[in-house]
Symmetry: C2
Subunit: 376 residues, 2 copies
DNA sequence: CATTGATATGAATCCTACG
DNA sequence: ACGTAGGATTCATATCAAT
């Protein structure tokens, strides 16, 4: 029954239909990433007037109406269960919400077996102020990033995100503005098409951090299509679900105008693609290193001899390049590729350089060491 | 049974005992504010090694051990129920947690009838990095600020917090560093006394925003006593509960060394204390305004006549000072005190100035209009 | 064209004391 | 509890008109 759709048929389309019913027709273990922006169940009443007397137009859509927490909880349990089934074993899911609903979502997800990796805070740089001075300005929304289990081998493009964050590891609080200006979809009357269109920068961070080129990304609440737009731009595939045809119409047009850029080192996560494994034995066999030659540290000290097994020896020990360097440094472990040098033309050369030379000459692999620094 | 303790007897003390059992002995509707920093149920396993090989000392205390979510949920339901009973009708409660537990807490609180006012993000300016590069640096904790019902008339010192935030309304994301240096309690060996001591700045924001001088603040998980220390410094009363006598010993000494500063305009919330109400009729009776005199706007236009009822009239209408100004401005309502001026010695004087003159001369009340600006 | 100022608006659980 | 009158309350951007 869960196979009405074949993945290739629905790839890069927005399916028009009820969220839960549509999810039920998507096969098990079939998508790499899910981004879900469900209704928040805001529970606002009446009209909020700005200081100057005009009305604030917030969310007053039918799709955000639920009778009580119980109804909202069953709704969320149902779609989150389907997502669990549809997500691949090592895939991950992002769900965005605010204080009105995110505690329902998080509780339900943990009970369904999801494992929270981070709760990411979207710190809005330009939030709607609190007109009446009754509370702290509500300036944040929350995204729960989860796997299907504690031991899932999820994708996290650590180096790409570090590069995007001025070469410091990216934190769980993201400062991003609201979706306004040209990015915000408007209808013929100049009114916003969707009351809660998410900024592309938010989706960019989500997709670049936790998916790879060619991955399949599912959005069960596609709305104005931000997920699809960013997925296409970064070379990922998407599957959208949306019950309002008007939204689909605008989203389709929006996505059609996007160009994929897979030669972009940020979008294709070059920094995080691991180079092919090359051992000391391979370098020996191919003449990049010689049996019996001397390894030195960067100060030309701690000389050791390379054995035919690709180990390093001195009168006391024969150890791997890693263990030998760790022993010298009195640490439990250490990366020998960064520690050891050999002599070529009377100059010290890092064995890591020799390894990359081999990768380039024999495996046609060019490592990307760094990209131009991004100034935020 | 819920009356073993009389509030005056336990005021400004830390009760040694089990949290839930002790809470049961505190009377109904007896405290103004609760701050709770419960165990987070971190579920960490094994030892996390830093890059250089040393061990990271996180939370590994017995008090953070629970067998599963079910046990944690019942524990939290129990103490949150007692807090609901103990809190006054218009009091409020803060609960701090992180992604491991805050979704359990929020869900349970909403189900118990608590009404979330804000979810405050503590954005740590100096978080522990993610040593292994496996996720985004977990840089935030969350505080849920709630009342007992949607309609509770809770305390929020809006102007004090605005003043503390460089004269802009304070938002829900707070940038505050971890508790380190001299503020962090150390034992005789130089080890930290408590593994999760909260920074005073965090508690300062909590207490200054949502309580008044003389209020009673309950902390069911007193730990190292930060709540008590800040409560005492700002002129509030506290009641602490803690089951570990070692913590109480350090907390008692810490709090004993604090001096109360109630003459501090920030601590006593002078900016938020409302001036006594004075109507136009009072100013008329006391000769600050005269029947029949002319009211003008700031440009000496829109002249209206003051009636014996304290209203403003023109040939068409007789309205309150507020309604009349709103009519002129074509707004649904407006503050007439800021809009209208009268002539004294041929100069325009704001009627709000006259009102403050009356307050000063007859009610011995001096309004605080502003404090020196705080540069953050 | 550059600069200034007025206006519009964004996932919002948005007043309070008194009779 | 409920209705009514009093009177207190906004920040960061984008757009567009005016200078």
């Amino acid at each position: 029954m869960n196979n009405k759709y074949k993945i290739p048929e629905i790839l890069n389309t927005i399916i028009n239909g009820d969220c839960i019913e549509t999810l039920k027709n998507i096969p098990d273990n079939s998508v790499d990433l899910i981004f879900a922006d469900p209704p928040y169940f805001m529970q606002t009443e009446g009209t909020l007037l700005r200081t100057e007397g005009t009305a604030f137009k917030g969310v007053d859509d039918e799709w955000d109406k639920f009778s009580d927490y119980e109804e909202y909880d069953s709704f969320c349990t149902a779609w989150l269960k389907e997502c669990y089934r549809i997500l691949k074993k090592d895939g991950s899911i992002w769900v965005i919400g605010a204080f009105q609903n995110i505690y329902r979502i998080g509780y339900i997800m943990q009970n369904l077996g999801y494992w929270i990796l981070n709760d990411i805070v979207w710190n809005k740089t330009n939030p709607t102020p609190n007109f009446k001075g009754t509370r702290f300005t509500n300036a944040n929304e929350t995204m729960l990033w989860c796997t299907k289990s504690k031991n899932a081998k999820y994708t996290f493009n650590y180096k790409t995100m570090k590069h995007l964050n001025n070469s410091k590891q990216m934190k769980s609080v993201w400062n991003i503005g609201l979706c306004i200006g040209n990015e915000r979809l408007k209808d013929g009357n100049g009114d916003k098409v969707h009351s809660t269109q998410k900024p592309q920068k938010l989706l960019m961070n989500v997709i670049l951090s936790s998916s790879k080129v060619g991955d399949i990304i599912l959005d069960p609440f596609m709305g104005s299509g931000t997920t699809g737009a960013v997925a296409k731009e970064t070379g990922r595939n998407f599957i959208g679900i949306e019950r309002d045809k008007k939204y689909i119409c605008y989203a389709d047009e929006r996505i059609a105008n996007i160009k994929t850029q897979t030669d972009n080192h940020i979008f294709n996560n070059s920094l995080d693609i691991k180079p092919p494994k090359v051992g000391v034995d391979i370098l020996l066999k191919n003449g990049y290193l010689d049996i019996g030659e001397t390894f030195y540290d960067k100060n030309e000290k701690n000389a050791k001899t390379l054995t035919n097994k690709g180990h390093l020896s001195d009168p006391d020990n024969e150890l791997s390049i890693h263990k030998m360097s760790a022993t010298i440094l009195q640490k439990s472990n250490n990366n020998g590729w960064d520690y050891w040098f050999v002599k070529r033309d009377d100059k010290l050369i890092s064995i890591d350089n020799l390894r990359n030379k081999y990768r380039k000459e024999h495996l046609n692999y060019n490592a990307i060491y760094s990209l131009p620094q991004i100034i935020l």
